[in-house]
Symmetry: C2
């Protein structure tokens, strides 16, 4: 059996509670006693047990991290990276993270993460779009809460958001700078606020430069945001016969679909059409040509959320706030100056 605080107290010749005071850097302990205790700790190689401390202090030093199932199992490790960012930051603050998923549509009667019921976390991070019911439940328990990449108007919790709007503007402005005027938008059904923000940025950037926003160049009817949805959206866009020389896709996966479709139609990227995606996931470097994208600092999102929640746990007067994490336009091979003459439409099948 490993040593307990009692053993340390004995060895140091002090009361058990004094050892505790030393461990927790509390109040007034004489230098000399402190030394004695520290020596005893070192000699015995003593480490207090988490469970015991947890029970006595009502602090677990665990954080709950909740994702919806679909985000979790997605091939593209967008949220996984956020989680890993949290993990690393959490350790710096001496916390561990308990990860769990909930069904997309959490509501009354749905199974509740066990770590909440068992009061095994000091705070909760919610990543991505989760149901309001869950948000309310966590707050109802009186647990500190931080949300990542999602929020609701009513939600009174700290939030870490991506600068979707700014990123979209940057992408579109880049196109405009390079002489493009017929810029299409490809995004899936905007059920996630991030996606509608990206559309909003697209529109705003165009208007800012006096370029009219044309519905014929906007595709956001596809049900999801996968490669195939991007491809299908592009097919439809080409089908309308309205010419364009650039496409801003609301995420990289769709952008890959856009590129596939263009290639099928014998259009060359970036000679005929320039493309910019969003997120900057690995695939950008694996397609040909390499895809320009708006980089999202995924690990940072996680790390920032952890810092916020630790602050909140350690000082519960901490204000609710909203962090907008900047993004970065990364130009690669999929963008170029607009072609001299607008390409002729290839009639679609």
């Amino acid at each position: 059996m490993s040593p307990t605080i009692k053993d340390v107290a004995q060895k140091a010749g002090v009361a058990l509670s004094t050892v505790s005071l030393v461990i927790n850097r509390k109040s007034n302990v004489r230098q000399e006693t402190k030394k004695r205790v520290e020596n005893a700790i070192a000699e015995l190689n003593y480490h207090p047990r988490r469970t015991a401390r947890g029970l006595a202090s009502q602090r677990t030093y665990n954080l709950g991290f909740i994702l919806t199932e679909d985000h979790f199992s997605q091939a593209e490790p967008f949220y996984t990276k956020i989680f890993l960012g949290s993990e690393i930051e959490a350790r710096k603050h001496h916390y561990y993270i308990l990860l769990t998923t909930v069904q997309k549509n959490f509501r009354q009667g749905a199974p509740i993460p066990r770590f909440l019921l068992e009061r095994n976390v000091d705070g909760v991070i919610l990543a991505g779009k989760v149901s309001n019911g869950l948000i309310d439940f966590v707050q109802g328990m009186g647990l500190p809460l931080v949300m990542i990449d999602y929020t609701t108007p009513a939600c009174k919790a700290s939030t870490v958001l991506i600068d979707n709007y700014g990123g979209a503007c940057a992408a579109v402005n880049q196109f405009i700078k390079e002489g493009h005027r017929d810029i299409a938008f490809v995004g899936g059904e905007a059920s996630h606020p991030s996606l509608s923000e990206r559309l909003r940025g697209y529109k705003a950037a165009l208007q800012d430069q006096g370029i009219p926003v044309r519905d014929a160049l906007i595709s956001n009817a596809e049900p999801y945001t996968g490669v195939d949805d991007g491809r299908e959206a592009t097919r439809k866009l080409l089908g309308t016969g309205v010419p364009f020389t650039a496409v801003f896709a609301s995420n990289d996966t769709m952008a890959v679909g856009v590129m596939r479709c263009l290639k099928e139609k014998n259009l060359t990227v970036p000679r005929d059409v320039s493309v910019i995606g969003f997120d900057d996931i690995e695939v950008c470097l694996q397609v040909e040509p390499c895809l320009s994208s708006v980089r999202v600092f995924k690990e940072d999102l996680g790390a920032i959320a952890v810092r916020r929640i630790v602050e909140k746990i350690e000082d519960d007067r901490m204000m609710v706030n909203r962090v907008l994490v900047p993004v970065e336009l990364v130009l690669r091979e999929s963008t170029a100056r607009a072609p001299q003459q607008v390409i002729q439409r290839i009639v679609s099948g």
Copy 2:
């Protein structure tokens, strides 16, 4: 404050310890008392606290998952997937996973995962190549241990291994079946036993079919196993002038490098050279042509490890064993019948 076991006992009109017996499905409790207690639990919406149970029972229901730093931060989420597989399986058994990384060269004096010191886990999973010092440390603590994708001859712990040997054989046999005889091997420096197993399988499959193993067709001198190493290895292979029509790469990342190099030299995959990788990571579907590969069921590795360790925790007489997880050859576009005549070497730069 949420209800405690005391509240339940009061409400049900039984002793506190009886409630505990019901919760833990222990010994003999009369049907009727059991019902009473269960009703009280339901009415109060009672859930025992993890920390309290942990302290009393010396069981945390946490599992430690240890990776080396380099594996963790690798872009390619091979180990991440293993971890996620563990995570999901762990929840099924009512465990949570505490994740941490250690330096590649853990030894005396290196920081030890906090969850070990604080006795905050019931068992440990080690994934990938970790130092012996760490293995010894965990076992020295008397904690159940399961290793994934790595083992040492001396190690007395249950192990979950990939069938590297079998996978390599399958790949090479496929080449042979399609008429290839000049089959090259591209693998990085075989510091990880998995990689040398793959080389061993390659050799064995050739010999089995009476095809001589030629050192000139084997490249395993590159320091790492990244894309660039694969490309460089191929360049050197081509440079020797020894003709080949197929390449088995010991992982997909290197295989991508192989394909890049071949393309640079104006060789077409699979017309001129067939390629098969190993691991079956996402990139296989993102390159052109799609890469054939030996699929490793990463999530399964994690899940199996969890099952093993839970068994061990719950019954410590459990035997140490070694599971060899099968792999699956996935044929895509990068393999074809051997060309009629051996291609002429392009002289390398």
